[in-house]
């Protein structure tokens, strides 16, 4: 394609050589817009690979600052970034890798009031959130707006990942209709996480996003890929769409984003707001 610069032809040459990508595919990547929720353990490899791949616009949602305990796995940030907003440190890293990429920082916490507006600007969404309220909020918003979503979770040596394409398979609520009671699922903060596991699972998310944009291969729709880093094995579990799902089912009962606190109150008064699976 004649509108690539010499530098772009060289930078993206290993993509362009791929039969399934070519110049047309690379142009699609450059024109695409991806939102990454969370610039942490999962968001780091996703952000790095999407920026390197030339995804033209990458939104980053994170309200936290870089903490020393993050650096064992959150490879977007460096020791020099301690105390800085993760959004800004991540933007610097990603734009440093590839000046073709425009990183849009959303330095906020997603809630029922802003989630639809934020998600609306993007073609594909990546859930790298460290807490259940955000996870349900992002799932619901993506289903409501028909946006493809890569979902993943990691803990200790394990991880799981799936791709949600509304209308083509199940959503996160089909799998887990309600958040678990606080404290039932331990967080990385309590249980630990091998940093490289975040890299493996996040890299799978990045590959899924690129496939979705390019329209190639078989995304993990209706499949949960479960990774065990101690055994070093993957298994794939079929997950059906639930026709009774409250958000993507045949008669949805959730038609507007709801906050976790409200969601829990509706279901019997769980008050706390656990930080789960960072």
């Amino acid at each position: 394609m004649s509108d690539f610069s010499e530098g772009q032809i060289e930078r993206y040459s290993r993509h362009i050589i791929l039969r399934e990508v070519g110049g047309k595919g690379q142009s699609k990547l450059l024109e695409s817009r991806v939102l990454i929720v969370g610039a942490g353990g999962l968001g780091s490899p996703v952000g790095l690979y999407l920026a390197a791949a030339g995804v033209g616009t990458i939104g980053l949602v994170d309200s936290d600052a870089v903490d020393l305990s993050n650096l064992q796995r959150q490879i977007l940030h460096t020791t020099a970034d301690l105390g800085r907003p993760k959004c800004l440190s991540a933007r610097e890293t990603m734009e440093g890798i590839n000046p073709d990429v425009c990183v849009v920082p959303h330095q906020c916490r997603l809630d029922s009031a802003n989630v639809l507006n934020v998600v609306a600007d993007y073609d594909v969404v990546v859930d790298g959130a460290d807490n259940f309220p955000t996870r349900y909020l992002v799932n619901d918003a993506c289903v409501m707006q028909g946006k493809p979503l890569s979902h993943a979770g990691i803990l200790r040596f394990e991880g799981h990942v799936t791709t949600i394409v509304p209308g083509r398979g199940p959503c996160y609520r089909c799998l887990y209709p309600e958040p678990p009671p606080p404290g039932l699922v331990p967080s990385c903060q309590e249980a630990g996480i091998l940093g490289a596991v975040a890299g493996i699972v996040g890299s799978i998310q990045a590959a899924e996003v690129l496939k979705l944009i390019l329209g190639i291969g078989d995304p993990l729709i209706g499949r949960l890929l479960v990774f065990d880093g101690l055994e070093m094995s993957f298994r794939s579990v079929e997950i059906p769409r639930d026709p009774g799902c409250p958000v993507c089912g045949d008669r949805p009962t959730i038609t507007a984003p709801i906050d976790y606190e409200e969601f829990c109150r509706l279901r019997g008064g769980i008050e706390s707001n656990p930080e789960v699976q960072s």
Partner: protein, 83 residues
Amino acid sequence: MTERAPECCLDLRGTPCPLNWVKTKLRLEEMEPGRRIEVIVDQGNPERNVPRSAKMEGHRIVHAISQNGAVRICIERAEESAP
């Protein structure tokens, strides 16, 4: 069938592998199936790699002619360049 003249010519002398093929491929993507392009590449690796890559994507090598230390390769674009 009579030999159709190539639609365009890319002088890729001095362009190393695989960039010579990348530039050829980008041009092929913009062409109609059945149309031809002539590329001039260096002897050695480029004269082997560029036709091999073109054939792997289903394009047809019409001819390759050595000339003054370079090779002129005529490639006919395949019906489908991407699966």
